[in-house]
C-alpha cells in the first residue's frame, strides 16, 4: 500500500500547483459553509442570549392590556405575598446613533432572575457593590457592558446623552459589567433603576411587564391570576420569547436559505477539485493496474490520500471560514440591532455543529469525489484506463441518468410541498431538492447548449472559439461540475434577488395604497411601542384647524399580548375615503365597511389570517378591558407591517371594549389647494408648545419605510460576495485543470503558429463561455428558487403574500457577475498556459 500511495502521490508533489488547487478549492468550499453557518449561529445565539439576559429565568410574564401595565398590579401582588416576581420597564434608547435596550429593574426583586456580573464583583473588589447600589442612589445612573462602553469611549463615572424619541436624557455610567470578550448577551443592553427607565421612557406609573417564576405549583399561577385585573394576563415566557424570536426570523430565514446554497456550492466545489485529482492521474492508475495492483488496493490508496488532503483543506477552511464568518457576523448583527433588537456584533462562536457540518461536508464530498472516479477509473481494463477519452465518454453516457434523477428530485419536492402545509423545514427541503436537481442537470444543459455556442463563438472569434467551446463539452467531467457550482451560486443571487425585488415592489405598492392621508402626525411611541397618552385632545382640535387641513382621521395603535404572541391592534376612525387604504384579499368592501363601522367585527391582515388559519366569518378572541371577548373577522387585507400581522377595529368599538379614548396618530387630509410643506411647518409650530410630535408627509413616510426595507436586506450583499468567491474559485479550478490537461494541445497550437496572446484569448473565451453557460442556466433555476422563496418559504415563515415580479436588472447583473468572475478567474490560467513553450509534450501521446 505504501508504495502504491507513493506512486500516486509523488505525482502530486511534482505538480504542487494541482495539489494546491485541490486544497484551496476544498478550503474555500469549507470556508463558505462555515462562514455562513457562523453568521447564522452567531446571530441566533447572540439573539438568544440577549433574550435570556433580558427575560432571565422567568417562566411566565405578566403583560398589560392595551393601555399598558399599571405598576400597582405589581405592588398589589407583592403586598399579597407573591414574591417570585420582578418588575421590568424596558424600551429602546439611542446613544451616539447606536441602539440600546434600556432595561429598568428593581435590583431587590432581581437576584433570582438575572445574573449581573458587575465590575469588581470578584474577590477584593469593593466598588462593585457600590456600583449596583448606586443604581438607587445616583440619579440617571446606568450599568453598561464593558464592550459597549469601549465602543462609546466611556468609562465609569462618565456622563452620556441618551435620546428617546426626540427627548434627551443625561445619563451617567455607574459601573461596567462583563469583560471585553464575553458579555453574557447584555451588550447593547443598559441596566438602570426602574425609576430612571420610567422617567426616560415616559412610563411613570407603568411597567413593561412583570417577570414571574412559577415552579411546579399550579396554585401559584391560579393565585396570581385571581389577583390580576381583567385586561392583564399571565403568559408563558416562552411564548413571549418566541414572539421576540420571530422578529429576527426574517434574518434567520434569509440566512438559512443562504447556508443551504453555501453548503451545496461548497460541496460541489470540493467535489470538483478532488475528483480532478483522481482523473488527472488516470495514466498512472492505468500503469499501476497493468502492473497488477488490485482495484481494491487502488481505491483504498486513493481514498486515504484524498482524506489526508481533505483534512488539510478542512483545517484551512475552518480557519478561513471563521475569519469570513466574523465579517459576516458584524454585518448581520449591525443589521439586527438596527431593526429588530439590540444584539452585540463581532463575537464569533465557532459552534461544534458548525465544525461538524464543515468537516462532514468536506470529508463526505471528498469521499464521493474520490470514490466515484476512482471506481470508475479502475473498472476498465488497464489498457483503456490510459485513454482519456474513455472518461469523457462515460460522463456523456450518464447524462440521461442524471437528468432522470433530477426529474425524480423535482417530483419529490412537489410531493413534499403538496403534503406539507405550513411547515417551513419542508419548504426548505423542497428548495434544496430543486437546487440539487438543477445541479444534476447542469452537464446536460452544457451538452445541449454547446452546439449553439460553438457556432456563436466560432463566428465571433474564429476557430479558437470553437476549440474553446468544444473543449468545455469535451471535458464535461471537469467543466460540468464547475458549471453546476457556479450555477447554484448565481441562482442564489437570482433567487434572492427575485424574492427581495418582488417583495420590495409589493411593499411599495402597498405603501402607496395604505398610506392614504397626505400628512401623518403621531405621538412618539415610548417603551414597548406604547404611546401612553397619545396626542392631547386639545391639540388635535388645534391641528385640525390649521390652514389647508381638510379633515383628519384618528387612530390608536396598541399592542396586545396573547398566548399566540403579540398582536398589533389598530383602532381607526374611518374617514370617508379612508377605506381605500385597505386592499382586501378576501371580502367585499361594500359589505365590510358598514359592518366594520357598526363595530360588528374586525378586519385582519393577510399574515394574521394565514398564521392563525382564519377566514372571513371566523371569530377571534382578544383580551379587552372587560375580559376576553370574541370578534368576527369581516375582511382580510394585504399588509407587510408586522411579522405576526395585525388587527384593525373601529375606534368607537375599541373605546367600548378597552375604555381608552387616546388618539396616538392622525391621518390628515389636505385641501386641494394646500401647500404640503407649509402645512407641515404650521402643524409643527402648533404642536411644539404641547408635546413632541412626529410629523411626516406621505412621501417621507413611504421613503423612510423603503429605506428600512432596504437596510433589512443589506445582508444580501453578502450573497453577492459569496457567489463571487465561489464562482471565482470554481472557474479558476476548472480553467487551471483544463489548461494543465491540455498542455499538449496548447503546445500544438503554439507549434502551429498561435501566439501567446491567441492562446490566452482561447482560455479566456473558454472561461467566459463557462461563466455564460452557468449564468444562463442560473436564470431559470434562480427564478424557480425565487418562486419557492416567495410562495413557499416566505409564505410559510411570515404569511406574507407576495406577487412575484422578475426584476430584469437582477437577472442581468447576475449574468454579468457570472461572466465577469469567470473572466477574472481566467487570468491566471491564461497566463500559466503560455508562460513556457511546452516543448516536450509534443512528442508524447
Amino acid at each position: 500500500m505504501g508504495n502504491i500511495l507513493k506512486a500516486l502521490s509523488s505525482y502530486l508533489f511534482r505538480h504542487p500547483g494541482q495539489l494546491a488547487l485541490a486544497i484551496i478549492g476544498l478550503a474555500v468550499g469549507i470556508a463558505v459553509i462555515v462562514a455562513v453557518d457562523i453568521a447564522n449561529e452567531s446571530a441566533r445565539k447572540s439573539f438568544d442570549s440577549s433574550l435570556t439576559a433580558v427575560t432571565g429565568d422567568a417562566t411566565h410574564q405578566i403583560i398589560g392590556g392595551a393601555t399598558g401595565l399599571d405598576e400597582s398590579v405589581y405592588i398589589d401582588l407583592r403586598l399579597g405575598g407573591i414574591r417570585t416576581i420582578a418588575p421590568i420597564v424596558e424600551g429602546v434608547v439611542r446613544i451616539e446613533g447606536e441602539t440600546y435596550q434600556l432595561l429598568g429593574i428593581d435590583i431587590f426583586a432581581e437576584t433570582s432572575f438575572r445574573d449581573y456580573q458587575v465590575e469588581g464583583s470578584g474577590s477584593g473588589g469593593s466598588s462593585g457593590a457600590g456600583g449596583v447600589f448606586s443604581l438607587l442612589t445616583e440619579d440617571n445612573g446606568v450599568l453598561m457592558m464593558r464592550r459597549s462602553a469601549a465602543r462609546l469611549g466611556l468609562k465609569t463615572g462618565d456622563p452620556f446623552t441618551a435620546r428617546v424619541f426626540g427627548a434627551e436624557h443625561q445619563g451617567i455610567v455607574l459601573s461596567l459589567m462583563g469583560d471585553e470578550e464575553s458579555s453574557n448577551g447584555l451588550d447593547r443592553v443598559l441596566i438602570t433603576d426602574i425609576s430612571v427607565a420610567q422617567e426616560w421612557l415616559g412610563l411613570v406609573g407603568k411597567l413593561s411587564r412583570i417577570d414571574v417564576m412559577i415552579g411546579d405549583e399550579d396554585n401559584l399561577r391560579a393565585s396570581i391570576e385571581a389577583k390580576l385585573p381583567p385586561d392583564v394576563q399571565l403568559l408563558n415566557a416562552e411564548r413571549r420569547n418566541n414572539s421576540l424570536q420571530e422578529m429576527s426570523s426574517g434574518f434567520n430565514t434569509s440566512l438559512t436559505a443562504m447556508s443551504l446554497f453555501a453548503l451545496l456550492v461548497g460541496v460541489f466545489l470540493i467535489y470538483n477539485c478532488m475528483s480532478f485529482m483522481v482523473l488527472q492521474r488516470r495514466p498512472i492508475i492505468g500503469v499501476l493496474r497493468a502492473l497488477g495492483v488490485t482495484r481494491e488496493q487502488l481505491v483504498a490508496a486513493l481514498i486515504i490520500e484524498g482524506l489526508v488532503i481533505a483534512t488539510i483543506g478542512v483545517l484551512i477552511g475552518l480557519f478561513t471560514g471563521k475569519f469570513l464568518g466574523e465579517q459576516l457576523v458584524s454585518l448581520v448583527s449591525g443589521n439586527l440591532s438596527d431593526h429588530y433588537y439590540s444584539v452585540r456584533g463581532g463575537e464569533v462562536t465557532l459552534a461544534a455543529t458548525t465544525i461538524l457540518k464543515g468537516v462532514v461536508a468536506g470529508l463526505l464530498a471528498t469521499l464521493i469525489a474520490v470514490v466515484v472516479p476512482a471506481i470508475e477509473a479502475v473498472s476498465y481494463p488497464p489498457r483503456l484506463t490510459l485513454v482519456r477519452s474513455v472518461v469523457e465518454e462515460s460522463v456523456h453516457n450518464i447524462l440521461g441518468w442524471l437528468a432522470l434523477a433530477a426529474g425524480l428530485l423535482v417530483i419529490v419536492a412537489g410531493v413534499v410541498l403538496t403534503f406539507t402545509d405550513v411547515n417551513l423545514i419542508a419548504g426548505f427541503f423542497a428548495l434544496f431538492l430543486v437546487i440539487v436537481s438543477s445541479a444534476l442537470l447542469a452537464p446536460l444543459v452544457v451538452k445541449l447548449m454547446t452546439p449553439l455556442l460553438t457556432i456563436i463563438m466560432g463566428y465571433a472569434v474564429g476557430l479558437p472559439g470553437r476549440i474553446a467551446v468544444r473543449g468545455i463539452l469535451k471535458s464535461l467531467s471537469r467543466t460540468g461540475v464547475a458549471i453546476a457550482a457556479l450555477t447554484i451560486a448565481v441562482a442564489e443571487i437570482v433567487g434572492m434577488g427575485v424574492m427581495i425585488g418582488s417583495f420590495r415592489e409589493n411593499v411599495e405598492d402597498w405603501l402607496i395604497t395604505s398610506l392614504h392621508s397626505d400628512i401623518y402626525v403621531a405621538a412618539p411611541a415610548r417603551g414597548g411601542g406604547l404611546s401612553l397618552n397619545g396626542i392631547d385632545p386639545e391639540l388635535i382640535t388645534k391641528l385640525s384647524q390649521v390652514n389647508g387641513v381638510s379633515h383628519y382621521s384618528g387612530a390608536r395603535g396598541v399592542k396586545l399580548e396573547t398566548e399566540n404572541g403579540s398582536i398589533q391592534l389598530r383602532a381607526v376612525d374611518m374617514s370617508p375615503d379612508g377605506g381605500n387604504a385597505y386592499d382586501f384579499l378576501m371580502g367585499y368592501p361594500a359589505e365590510i365597511w358598514p359592518a366594520f363601522n357598526a363595530g360588528e367585527g374586525v378586519i385582519i391582515t393577510d399574515p394574521y389570517a394565514y398564521n392563525f388559519g382564519l377566514n372571513i366569518g371566523d371569530s377571534l378572541t382578544l383580551p379587552t378591558k372587560l375580559g376576553s371577548r370574541e370578534f368576527k373577522v369581516l375582511g382580510i387585507y394585504r399588509d407587510y407591517n408586522a411579522n405576526q400581522g395585525s388587527i384593525t377595529i373601529n375606534r368607537s368599538a375599541y373605546i367600548t371594549y378597552w375604555q381608552d379614548e387616546v388618539i396616538s396618530s392622525l391621518g390628515i387630509y389636505l385641501r386641494e389647494d394646500a401647500d404640503e410643506v407649509a402645512v407641515i411647518d404650521q402643524l409643527n409650530a402648533v404642536g411644539a408648545p404641547y408635546q413632541a410630535l412626529i410629523i411626516g408627509s406621505n412621501k417621507q413616510i413611504r421613503e423612510m419605510s423603503l429605506r428600512v426595507f432596504d437596510r433589512t436586506f443589506i445582508i444580501t450583499n453578502v450573497l453577492y460576495w459569496l457567489a463571487m468567491i465561489v464562482a471565482f474559485v470554481g472557474v479558476l479550478a476548472a480553467a487551471l485543470a483544463l489548461s494543465l490537461e491540455r498542455g499538449k494541445e496548447i503546445a500544438i497550437l503554439r507549434a502551429l503558429g498561435m501566439t501567446r496572446a491567441q492562446v490566452s484569448k482561447l482560455i479566456v473565451v473558454q472561461c467566459g463561455t463557462m461563466g455564460l453557460l452557468a449564468g444562463l442556466f442560473a436564470l431559470p433555476v434562480g427564478m424557480i428558487s425565487g418562486w419557492l422563496l416567495i410562495n413557499v418559504i416566505n409564505r410559510r415563515a411570515f404569511g406574507w403574500q407576495i406577487d412575484m415580479i422578475i426584476p430584469i436588472d437582477t437577472l442581468l447583473s447576475a449574468l454579468a457577475i457570472a461572466i465577469v468572475t469567470a473572466l477574472i478567474a481566467a487570468i491566471y490560467p491564461a497566463w500559466y498556459a503560455t508562460k513556457s513553450a511546452p516543448v516536450s509534450t509534443l512528442r508524447e501521446e
Binding site: R78, D106, A109, G130, V196, E199
Partner: protein
C-alpha cells in the same frame, strides 16, 4: 448591635448572590458614605409614640422583635421578626416632582423572619429586601412593613404579622413595662469615637398572644416578646470582629440585656454594656466589667464555624448566676453573612433564690 448584619446582608446578598463572602466585606461597609447623615452624638429626649416611628436623616434603623411562645400542651416556639431601614444615600427632602417615578428612593429595607419549632427541632427562617418606596416597604407613623410582613402599634401595644410559605405568625403584643432607654438616657456609645453611637431603647417585656401556623397546623400561642429599637449612622470600629447579645426574661419579673462586643482576639471590648430592668421597669446600666460570661459548650455549624452554645453568665454586683442554653442548637440564619439568633432557656440563682427564664441570644462573627 445589628448594624453589621443589616449592612452586610443587604450589600452582599444582592450584589454577590452567587459568591462566597469573606471577611473582607467589612470594607464595603465603609464605602457607604456617612456624609450627609445625622449622627447620634448627644443625649436627646425621647418622646413616644413619635420615637416609635422612623428617624429619617440617620443612615440606619431597626425594629427588632424576638420572643418565646408557648402553645397548647406546652409546645415551645421561638420567633424573630426584624426590620432594617438603610439609607444608601441621604434622603432627598425635596418635594416629589410631577412625572417622577414612584420607585425613586435611596432607602432600602431588609427583614428577617424566623420561627423555632422546638418539638420538631425545626428552624425556619426567611429574609427579604426591598426599596422603601412607601408602597412595597417603608414606615408610616408607627407602622413598619416590608410587603406583607409588618409591625405596627395598636391601642395597647403592638401587632405583628408575618408569613412566608407555610409559616405564618400573628401576634398581639401588650406593653407591660415602659420603654427602657439603654446606655446614657438612650445614647448608646459603641466606641471611643464621638458619634460612633446609636439611640437605643427597648420595650423589654411585651405580653404576646396570637397564633403560629406551620404546615397548615395552627397553634394558639402566648409568651413574651423583646422589642429593640435602635437608629444611628456610624459603623463600628474595625477592631471588633463580632458580638454576643443576650436578652433574657427572668421569672422574678426582671429582664436582662447585655451585649458583649468582641475584639479581634476574642476579648471583650470595653464599650460592651447592658441593662438590668426591674419588674417595675427601673433600669440599672451594666458596664463591661460588671458581667462575667463563661462559655461552657460549643456547637459546630454544619455550614462551617463554631458557635458558643452554652454559657454561665454572672453579675456579681447583683448576685446573679445564670446558666443559658439554646432550646435547639441549630438556630443559624443562613443568609449572607450567616449569624445565629435563637431562643434560649435560662436557669440559675439570684441571691439565694432559684430563678428561671427564657430569652434570645444573638451571635455574629463566628461563621467561617
Amino acid at each position: 448591635m445589628r448594624i453589621f448584619i443589616i449592612l452586610i446582608v443587604m450589600l452582599c446578598n444582592v450584589a454577590y448572590a452567587q459568591q462566597n463572602v469573606s471577611s473582607g466585606r467589612l470594607d464595603i461597609l465603609r464605602d457607604v458614605a456617612e456624609v450627609g447623615f445625622l449622627r447620634a452624638t448627644t443625649v436627646k429626649p425621647f418622646t413616644f409614640p413619635k420615637d416609635h416611628g422612623a428617624h429619617p436623616g440617620y443612615r440606619h434603623e431597626w425594629w427588632y422583635s424576638t420572643g418565646n411562645l408557648e402553645g397548647p400542651e406546652g409546645r415551645r416556639f421561638g420567633y424573630e421578626l426584624t426590620f432594617f431601614r438603610l439609607a444608601l444615600a441621604p434622603e432627598d427632602k425635596k418635594q416629589i416632582e410631577e412625572n417622577k417615578s414612584g420607585w425613586k428612593t435611596p432607602v432600602a429595607f431588609a427583614a428577617h423572619f424566623a420561627v423555632t419549632d422546638v418539638e420538631e427541632e425545626d428552624f425556619h427562617f426567611f429574609d427579604r429586601y426591598s426599596r422603601a418606596d412607601g408602597r412595597l416597604a417603608g414606615t408610616k407613623g408607627t407602622r413598619v412593613w416590608l410587603e406583607d410582613w409588618s409591625l405596627e402599634q395598636s391601642e395597647d401595644g403592638w401587632v405583628i404579622k408575618a408569613s412566608e410559605g407555610d409559616i405564618k405568625l400573628n401576634l398581639d403584643l401588650k406593653q407591660v413595662k415602659p420603654p427602657v432607654l439603654n446606655g446614657d438616657q438612650g445614647l448608646s456609645r459603641k466606641s471611643e469615637a464621638i458619634g460612633n453611637a446609636t439611640y437605643y431603647y427597648t420595650l423589654p417585656r411585651l405580653q404576646s398572644t396570637g397564633s403560629i401556623e406551620i404546615s397548615g397546623e395552627t397553634f394558639s400561642v402566648e409568651g413574651l416578646t423583646w422589642l429593640d429599637r435602635e437608629w444611628g449612622t456610624s459603623a463600628l470600629s474595625s477592631d471588633q470582629q463580632g458580638w454576643d447579645w443576650y436578652a433574657l426574661h427572668l421569672s422574678d419579673g426582671s429582664d436582662l440585656m447585655f451585649y458583649n462586643l468582641r475584639n479581634m482576639d476574642n476579648s471583650r471590648h470595653s464599650y460592651s454594656a447592658g441593662s438590668l430592668i426591674s419588674p417595675t421597669g427601673e433600669k440599672t446600666s451594666l458596664k463591661a466589667e460588671d458581667v462575667i460570661i463563661e462559655v461552657t459548650d460549643y456547637w459546630e455549624s454544619p455550614l462551617g464555624g463554631r458557635y458558643p452554645s452554652q454559657w454561665r453568665l454572672s453579675i456579681p454586683n447583683h448576685g446573679i448566676n445564670l446558666n443559658i442554653k439554646p432550646v435547639i442548637n441549630n438556630q443559624e440564619l443562613n443568609t449572607i453573612p450567616r449569624y445565629w439568633e435563637g431562643a434560649v432557656d435560662v436557669i440559675g440563682q439570684r441571691g439565694e433564690d432559684i430563678i428561671e427564664g427564657q430569652g434570645y441570644v444573638e451571635l455574629t462573627g463566628y461563621s467561617r
